[in-house]
């Protein structure tokens, strides 16, 4: 019996093909927008998050800020960090370690091809182990750097692929950094972060003597490890206090940032959330408009079929049957609109992600559409259809058979 009612509803929709399609367009635009935008937003969030997850939660980074030009972090700033700051930070209560990090952009050449990358320093002595733990450095091939490794380089995981130089780099290969020959000592494990996976790591002395200009002693970043994660906010405040004193700036006018990666991630996440929320609102408006479209179509259908409703009642259809028939019809409009919307949304999201990856060459644009999102969208569109149809269907069910039968089109 249910099957017969479904068939009956489908027949009625099929009879008014153009109107049914036009009604469904209203829903499918909204659902396509929701699916593709949520999918891309979620993909972006995952991509961004993965850039940070190699850092521990007990780490703070100190950087000079002020003038922000494109370049390695902490470069091109008005007042760079000095190399004596590290020892002053070390004296702050709760600080376990502080490490000067030098970052320099340069060229990397292999197999007669060149790319621009960022070289970072790894300190020597006891600090080496601390930084290795802090960044969770592990060699996938070869080994990590050790003291006295001169003209030796540790490379990020992406360099082992063929796509950068036409040929993957292996340990013992020789590469040119700023036209100086280096021996590749190891390849790092993959972290899923493009910053990390394209790292070019050298010993601090190598960095200062060979890659940097000789008189440049500016520190780019000071990495700070705290003793107790629970104290991290406290330590952060104390470092900020010290930095204000050292650099002679007032509160609120800081030309530096002290940040934990988790902090940064939270800020980014809340920004992303605001963007997503905005998208949701736009998409919801479109879906509500679609729902009103269904309601309108169903009202028209009820009016048009007044006589038919009268006939069905005369031959024994109860109010509930009439209500059910019209609800199924509007539910169908919603659901079919939803299915088409989901298909378009998937195509749109993966299409845009594909185009984005080709044109920008970045993994940041990716689509992440879960089965939950798809099922949710499907259910939502079906329920929306039914809800939009409730009032028209109720109106139809409550018609008096005598009046409905005498209705003239």
């Amino acid at each position: 019996m249910l099957k017969d009612y479904f068939m009956f509803s489908i027949k009625n929709l099929a009879k008014r093909k153009l109107r049914s399609w036009l009604t469904m367009i209203g829903i499918f635009i909204g659902i396509a927008a929701v699916v593709s935008l949520i999918g891309l937003g979620e993909g972006l969030r995952i991509a961004v998050t993965s850039q940070f997850n190699f850092l521990g939660s007990d780490v703070l980074s100190v950087q000079a800020s002020g003038l922000n030009l494109a370049g390695p972090p902490g470069t091109a700033v008005a007042t760079p960090l000095t190399d004596d700051l590290k020892d002053k930070i070390l004296k702050i209560n709760g600080v376990d370690a502080a490490i000067n990090r030098y970052i320099e952009s340069g060229t990397l050449e292999f197999n007669d091809r060149q790319t621009i990358g960022m070289a970072m320093s790894i300190p020597e002595g006891s600090e080496r182990k601390i930084l290795e733990d802090m960044l969770n450095l592990k060699a996938e091939q070869g080994r990590l750097l050790k003291d006295g490794d001169n003209k030796k380089v540790l490379l990020g995981n992406s360099f082992k692929e063929d796509d950068i130089f036409g040929k993957g780099i292996k340990p013992n290969d020789r590469v040119l950094i700023n036209d100086i020959s280096f021996e590749v000592i190891g390849i790092l494990e993959k972290k899923g972060s493009f910053l990390f996976d394209s790292a070019i790591a050298v010993n601090e002395q190598t960095m200062l003597n060979l890659i940097r200009e000789a008189d440049d002693t500016d520190v780019n970043v000071i990495g700070v490890k705290v003793k107790n994660v629970d104290n991290i906010d406290n330590v952060k405040e104390n470092i900020e206090k010290l930095m204000r004193k050292e650099r002679n700036v007032k509160k609120g006018e800081e030309d530096f940032v002290v940040e934990s990666p988790q902090n940064l991630l939270a800020t980014l996440n809340s920004t992303l959330f605001a963007v997503q929320l905005f998208i949701y609102i736009i998409a919801s408006i479109s879906i509500v408009v679609g729902g009103i479209g269904i309601m309108n179509t169903m009202y028209t259908a009820v009016l048009e079929r007044t006589k038919e409703i009268g006939i069905m009642k005369a031959i024994g259809a109860k109010n509930s049957v009439i209500f059910f028939l019209f609800s199924v019809e509007s539910g169908f409009l919603g659901m079919v609109g939803g299915i088409i919307g989901i298909i378009f949304g998937l195509l749109l999201a993966y299409g845009l992600a594909f185009i984005g990856q080709i044109t920008l060459g970045s993994d940041l644009i990716q689509a992440h559409i879960t089965s939950g999102l798809i099922i949710g969208a499907l259910l939502f569109s079906f329920i929306l259809g039914i809800i939009s149809g409730i009032v028209p269907a109720y109106q139809a069910s409550k018609m008096q058979p005598v009046e409905a039968l005498s209705f003239i089109k």
């Binding site: 031959i315 024994g316 109010n319």
Partner: protein
């Protein structure tokens, strides 16, 4: 003496048209016996359609009682009335009133679907009925693809699908030419004779009324001729 299947007892129906009250029925009393072919004849505005609505459980009276097989139906809810209509009454309308989206076969199936009759049973029944009204070869045609006479025969078949106690025919030939109309009337007579169905026909046409066994005349919502 045959049992009474329908009884109207001092039935009033009053419609409000703005401030004016229109009394479509003014104390109509009438009995229909099982197996009878009754014609209710009257001019336009005589209240004959209203009377048919009462008998057919399509409407309830303002005052008075309507009994179907001794069950008082004058105060039932619309859903209960629908159930009674679906089980006990078959309608034949002047405008045929078939569902245009459905084929002839599906139109006949529809009342049986509403009564939850199994697929096999209802399909056999529909085929049998289509053969009786001589439309077995037209079962997949939509109403718009059938002539007026054929449509009315589909309606007759539909009215019989649930083996009703009473068939109500409201000007069944009103939209047909006289030859086709007569043909339809012969079908009704055939149903009456072969299936012993009770038929109540409403018409303004005295000639048509002669097909019935008994004729009552209505004027101003009251019986003016014929025994009640």
């Amino acid at each position: 003496m045959k049992s009474t299947i329908i009884k109207l007892d001092n039935v009033w129906k009053t419609y409000k048209m703005g401030d004016i009250e229109v009394h479509a029925l003014q104390g109509l009393s009438l009995e229909v016996k099982a197996g009878e072919f009754l014609a209710i004849q009257g001019a336009s505005g005589s209240g004959k359609s209203t009377a048919m609505n009462m008998i057919g459980c399509l409407d309830i009276p303002t005052k008075g009682r309507v009994y179907l097989e001794s069950q008082d139906i004058s105060r039932l809810s619309e859903s209960n009335l629908a159930q009674i209509r679906g089980k006990k009454i078959g309608f034949i309308f002047q405008q045929f009133n078939l569902v245009n989206t459905l084929s002839a076969m599906e139109n006949i199936l529809l009342p049986m679907i509403f009564q939850n009759i199994s697929r096999e049973e209802r399909e056999n029944k529909a085929k049998e009925l289509l053969n009786i009204v001589e439309l077995g070869d037209r079962m997949d045609h939509k109403p718009t693809e059938l002539s007026g006479g054929q449509q009315q025969r589909v309606a007759i078949a539909r009215s019989l699908s649930n083996d009703p106690d009473v068939i109500l025919a409201d000007e069944p030939t009103g939209n047909l030419d006289s030859k086709t109309g007569e043909n339809v009337m012969h079908f009704l007579q055939k149903m009456h004779k072969e299936k012993k169905t009770t038929i109540v026909m409403v018409t303004h046409d005295a000639h048509l009324a002669k097909f019935a066994q008994r004729i009552v005349q209505l004027k101003d919502g009251k019986l003016i001729r014929g025994r009640k």
